[in-house]
Symmetry: C2
Subunit: 229 residues, 2 copies
Amino acid sequence: MGDAERESRILDAANDLITHYGYDKTTVDEIAREAGVSKGAVYLHFKGKEALFEALLLRESERVMDDMFARIEADPEGGTLFHVYGHALRAAITNPLIRALSTRDRRVLGDFARRFANMASPQDGMMFGREFIAHFQAAGLIRRDLSPETVTHLLVYMRYGFLMTESILPPEHTPPIDEIVAAMADMLSKGLAPDGQGDSETGKAIMRGYVAQLRAAIDERRGKLKKDE
Amino acid sequence: MGDAERESRILDAANDLITHYGYDKTTVDEIAREAGVSKGAVYLHFKGKEALFEALLLRESERVMDDMFARIEADPEGGTLFHVYGHALRAAITNPLIRALSTRDRRVLGDFARRFANMASPQDGMMFGREFIAHFQAAGLIRRDLSPETVTHLLVYMRYGFLMTESILPPEHTPPIDEIVAAMADMLSKGLAPDGQGDSETGKAIMRGYVAQLRAAIDERRGKLKKDE
DNA sequence: AGTTGACCAGAATCGTCAAACTGGTCAAAG
DNA sequence: CTTTGACCAGTTTGACGATTCTGGTCAACT
């Protein structure tokens, strides 16, 4: 078993246990056992429990980002902000840990919840923040008569509500995810896009730049994690 | 001091204390003192602490509803669903207790949080629920190609995010409430309204009916409260 | 008759302390 | 050189009784 594969197994185990029992109630011992290695081995790969968790968040963030990006590239109209938005939501809701992170679910994050009050995760902070929206506006993919801050707020509201669906609306009346996302994207494109919708390829180009930027941010954090070891 | 006025003072005191310290940490003794009456007097008006709180919720719900209704009637275009929606949000965010109720804020609701898992409040349950939306669709105020459930979800998402603003977005970048609500209403009207927007007066008529229905529901609950005494 | 506040039983809180557990280390085994 | 798991120090948990607090009542007072 290679080094990278073992690290990956440890992260898999941590992911399963933490999304199920929460950060606080998951012990390093359990993670090691679930991963089929000894506890010492865990400390060979990570500085400590916190660093392990952070590494896990980075990995899952990257996965969600890759997932989103793949969906965008595969979709002819994927570069429109509202398709971008839809693909981002689909990717995010699929990943339990990222969902917990985005909704600041204390049952999963435990003590870490406080840490995220200050430090926004790459996912959250950069994805639909002011700069991001301004960029899309400049490229003619969003109406320019709205301030970027306002657009950001609207998009974050919907994203938050969407990821909270299970908690706030009775599941028996919830339509399929695809139907909701489709309606959302459609509504947004009619409500926030300029006449003519803007050019999808331009949007894709922007997204490639952003994904690269996000990836760089993630790698930088990874580097810091390693250096602290 | 009349009987009704004293009851009102007790509710005022309870409102102040509970929105500030939360249900659990507010004692009947403090409520009585704040209201300038004895503890016994509180029990003359209400069966117990729970009944007092429920009465408070009913009063505040009714106030928010009245507020919303007044805004709608005063607005020439107030009958459009999206103006209705905007007025409902403005009214709701103004009232701390209703905001806490709508966001299921445990710090304020305390033990009561659980009770609302099953029993939806009139405000929440009826306001933008399936039936309500279906009604507006039938009246030609919302596109008919979307299922009422889907529309409900979209609206609830935005409402939830909007009422959570303070908790999820840094206040320094938050535009004025009016700007956000205006953008939201505009976006919704472009995205979810049929061509031609529909007739505002029709919407107002529907709203009058709904408000009457809500008021009846509130009065019924009030009656049950009194009966249990 | 209408109000009050002292009073009560049960619940929550505090303080304590021993047992169990947890993150982290490292000598020893492989 | 890599990996392990017994081990350690510090923390958390839980049981316990003492003490305070809280919702609710009711005899006494106005």
